[in-house]
């Protein structure tokens, strides 16, 4: 062939070849149904029923992002997912899913199957927030009357992100749940979500925790108990300690703002039966003092710290006993701690952990340090100082 013909041949082949590569991954944005959040319920006939919130774009002068809800069901989760195409007409896109809400029944019976799909599928991310719906089917969270057009999943996600300032629920992402499932001596938990009736509309509310015993849902804890749970798990990053105090004959009500908390476990063994001692060091600041003690002096600070410690100790030990007796699942991670620090001993007691845990003796030794009293040194009645 002459060189001109070779060049022409090359010019013909190269565009043809290059149009063949990469096309399997080519998807236009408008062909994707971006799933913002999904609620998994048990449908009739043992099927999974999925309620998905799809984020889509509204056209018009202002380009707003809106959401609409679709339902689909199937024998397996993936089956239900693909069935969604016949409803929405686009392929569902899971890489931006932020939230999964699971109903109590699914959490009790099928949680491990849900986790299998979530982990295995390539599109679902490992940082999807998990919730268990309390007292209602999971789809009710999404099918509320939503006039403002916000995407509920994103609202839920920012709620749980900001829980660090409240500490009444613990953020659990899919990777954490799977980690806790696999790790010995610890059971997973997820935050609980419910609906709160405002006078005008219903909004979802995140408070409390759903406890699992290895992959079976066993029960809920309310907000206060969850805070104590977080103390033991060393997951406090903010929040309040609020308690009443009797000081010099006056009744005070105190709010302490938590800045930092460190929790450490220590095991002590008697006849190969472990006992756990929890030491906590909490740094707080005095943020609100109701009642009028006048100047905030060292005596008051010492009394406040003492009272806070007593308050913490009582509450945390009560929560631990509650979980031990009523739910019998080691969400605190005591077993995991023994596994990590003294694995030989753990191997011996591993099989019996379910019977050892309810009788486990746990003592809590908190230490509270009030580092300052915010911007005022006196209360208003005694003079602004």
């Amino acid at each position: 062939m002459t060189s001109i013909r070779k060049i022409i041949a090359l010019l013909l082949i190269v565009p043809l070849l290059s149009s063949l590569c990469g096309c399997w991954n080519y998807r236009l944005l408008e062909d994707l149904g971006i799933v913002a959040g999904v609620a998994i319920d048990k449908g009739t006939d043992d099927k999974f029923e999925l309620t998905m919130e799809i984020a889509d774009a509204k056209s018009g002068k202002e380009r707003m992002v809106d959401s609409h809800i679709i339902h689909s069901s199937g024998n397996t989760i993936f089956d239900a997912v693909r069935d969604g195409i016949s409803i929405i007409g686009k392929k569902l896109y899971w890489s931006h899913t932020q939230v999964i809400v699971v109903s109590e029944e699914i959490a009790r019976d099928e949680m491990i199957n849900v986790m299998d799909w979530l982990n295995r599928d390539s599109e679902t991310r490992t940082d999807i927030e998990l919730f268990v719906a309390k007292g209602m089917p999971a789809k009710d969270i999404f099918t509320i009357d939503n006039p403002s057009g916000n995407i509920i999943s994103f609202t839920l996600e920012s709620m749980i992100e900001n829980e660090t300032s409240l500490s009444k629920a613990r953020k659990t992402q899919t990777w954490k749940f799977a980690n806790d499932l696999i790790s010995p001596g610890i059971s997973p938990q997820t935050p609980a979500v419910m609906l709160w009736d405002d006078s005008k509309e219903q909004t979802p509310m995140v408070e409390g925790a759903a406890l699992f015993h290895d992959s079976v849902f066993v029960g809920f804890l309310d907000g206060a108990d969850t805070k104590n749970l977080l103390f033991v798990q060393d997951r406090i990053e903010g929040g309040l300690l609020t308690f009443p105090l009797n000081y010099q004959g006056k009744k005070l009500s105190v709010s302490l703002e938590i800045f930092e908390n460190q929790t450490r476990f220590e095991t002590s063994w008697t006849n190969s039966v472990p006992e756990i001692k929890i030491t906590m060091k909490t740094i707080v600041a005095l943020d609100e003092l109701q009642g009028t003690p006048g100047e905030i002096d060292e005596k008051l600070i010492a009394a406040l710290e003492e009272a806070a410690q007593v308050y913490l100790k009582n509450n945390i030990e009560a929560t631990i006993r509650l979980v031990q007796n009523q739910y019998d699942c080691d969400t605190f991670g005591f077993g995991n701690y023994i596994y990590r620090t003294e694995s030989q001993k753990w191997k011996k007691i591993e099989a019996d952990w379910d019977t050892i845990f309810p009788k486990l003796k746990v003592t809590v030794v908190p230490k509270v340090m009030i580092k300052n009293s915010a911007t005022q040194e006196k209360t208003i009645f005694g003079g602004v100082g």
Partner: protein, 516 residues
């Protein structure tokens, strides 16, 4: 495979455009014969004037001045030559020496030359000089009295600087050379003339500092210029393209500048300059990649500000190359890499838009290029209108009519403006941007990375007159980034660049400290 070998045996023979002249190549003794020869050479050319002279006292002295109307300085011709020949009283002793006698004793012009070569005489006349012929002498005197209209020295229009000298090169070779010479008052500055082009016979000058520039580069440049066989050079761009090292590369391997201070700076670093008559752009050789992002203003401003500007330019070039490609590949292949609010905004913008992202990108880039080219070509009278039309119509209306997604307008504007920031590498960015876009459309980010690798491999492999193009780019040692990524303060730039100035690298003594 024969595909890549050059086609041999298909070059045409260069057509000679000199015709055989009657009378050979030398002058005859008789004036009539010479005039007949020259009139036949210059026939049908009304601009060439023949002024017959006769000495007023000695009738035997007859001569003729040949010059081109409008190109000569008449004061020199009239007062210093014609008047002197007519009224000269230098006696005629012998016939053959009379022209030399006249030259020494009677003609007052300072720049004269005796010659017998007919070719040289015709060239001299055509350039604008005048020739004096005398009856009875086979020689002629060439009087260098060229006076051509030319532009005054004004600021370089293509490279304006806020800080820095404001003179720019003009089209006259001697003016340009004087602008260089007055800044480099050293005996080491060597200027060598050459004539290039069979028809235009353009005079070019190779300038370099003999004690710094590499002899090999100078020799190589001379060799390439000697090999140049073209009918005419109109602008230095012709020479640049023909003698450059990698002719098919979109990147320049020969630099050019319109500012004398920039050229002198490069001469001091050991580069060789090529000044071309008729072009205000002076070429510099060798030219390496870091120079694409250097401007002379960097060296006059504060080094922190200059470093920031330089990094901005480099970043802008990268942006201009990759932004459309990355945008297309992220929204079409890798949606999971975008943050969710951004993805939803882009999706909202793309609702109801008819074209896929790639087609949109192509269309808008082409339209931007049309606008840019129109802005460069149109008369200034309608300049304002077109820019307003461009901005309003194409931007706003296209988005409102839902032809184009608004995010595409941002992408195209960003890449267009960033490309315009670097004038030297603009051409390359323009073309490569489309290549990356096509690669991204087919293969996503993988395609972009593949294209980037190919580009870097190409850049690393080309050389400019023997110096690797990416001479210091791959290294992060402080000694190498002093003038590439940042502009180090002057007290640190003690040495000249390696390889280019290997003869004489020390520019400042070690004791030149800051603040002294």
């Amino acid at each position: 495979m024969n595909l890549w070998k050059k086609r041999k045996g298909q070059e045409e023979d260069c057509p000679p455009n000199e015709q055989k002249r009657p009378g050979g190549t030398e002058l005859a003794f008789s004036l009539e014969e010479n005039l007949a020869t020259l009139r036949s050479i210059f026939e049908s050319d009304d601009m060439i004037q023949f002024r017959i002279l006769e000495n007023k006292s000695q009738k035997a002295i007859q001569g003729c001045v040949i010059y081109v109307e409008g190109m000569t300085d008449h004061q020199i011709l009239d007062e210093y030559v014609i008047e002197q020949v007519i009224s000269s009283d230098v006696p005629r002793y012998t016939r053959t020496d009379y022209l030399e006698e006249l030259q020494k004793k009677a003609l007052l012009a300072s720049n004269l030359c005796l010659t017998q070569d007919l070719q040289k005489i015709t060239d001299a006349v055509l350039v604008g000089n005048a020739v004096l012929l005398l009856d009875g002498s086979p020689k002629a005197i060439i009087i260098y009295c060229k006076n051509l209209e030319s532009r005054a020295v004004e600021e370089a229009s293509s490279e304006q600087a806020v800080r820095g000298p404001r003179d720019g090169f003009t089209e006259q070779l001697l003016v340009n050379l004087s602008l260089i010479r007055r800044r480099v008052t050293s005996a080491d500055l060597k200027c060598q003339y050459k004539y290039i082009g069979r028809v235009t016979k353009t005079k070019v000058c190779i300038c370099y500092l003999k004690n710094i520039a590499s002899d090999q580069i100078v020799k190589e440049l001379e060799h390439r210029l000697n090999e140049l066989d073209i009918d005419g050079i109109v602008d230095s761009g012709y020479i640049q393209e023909i003698i450059k090292d990698s002719p098919f590369s979109p990147f320049d391997t020969i630099g050019h500048s319109e500012r004398p201070d920039s050229i002198v700076g490069k001469l001091l670093e050991g580069r060789v300059a090529l000044v071309v008559d008729g072009s205000p752009f002076v070429l510099t050789v060798p030219f390496i990649f870091p120079e694409l992002f250097q401007t002379p203003e960097d060296y006059y401003n504060n080094f922190i500000f200059a470093s920031f500007n330089r990094m901005l330019r480099i970043f802008g070039a990268v942006l201009a190359l990759f932004v459309p490609a990355i945008y297309v590949s992220l929204t079409n292949f890798h949606q999971e890499l975008l943050p969710t609010p951004l993805l939803l905004s882009i999706a909202a913008g793309r609702y109801d838009v008819p074209f896929p992202t790639v087609i949109e990108a192509f269309l808008m880039l082409i339209v931007f290029e049309i606008l840019r080219e129109a802005g460069a070509r149109m008369p200034t009278a309608i300049g304002q209108t077109v820019s307003i039309v461009g901005a309003l119509v194409l931007g706003e209306a296209a988005v409102d009519a839902k032809f184009i997604a608004p995010s595409m307008i941002i992408i195209v504007a960003l890449t267009g403006i960033s490309a315009l920031m670097n004038t030297k590498v603009q051409g390359a960015i323009l073309v490569l941007r489309f290549v990356f876009l096509i690669l991204a459309a087919f293969m996503g980010i993988y395609g972009v990375i593949f294209g980037a690798l190919c580009l870097i491999t190409h850049l690393m492999s080309i050389r400019s007159f023997g110096i690797p193009y990416m001479l210091k780019e791959g290294s992060i040692r402080y000694t190498d980034i002093k003038d590439t990524l940042i502009r180090a303060p002057w007290w640190y730039m003690r040495l000249r660049p390696q390889l280019i100035a290997s003869k004489n690298r020390v520019r400042m003594s070690r004791h030149a400290k800051k603040g002294t």
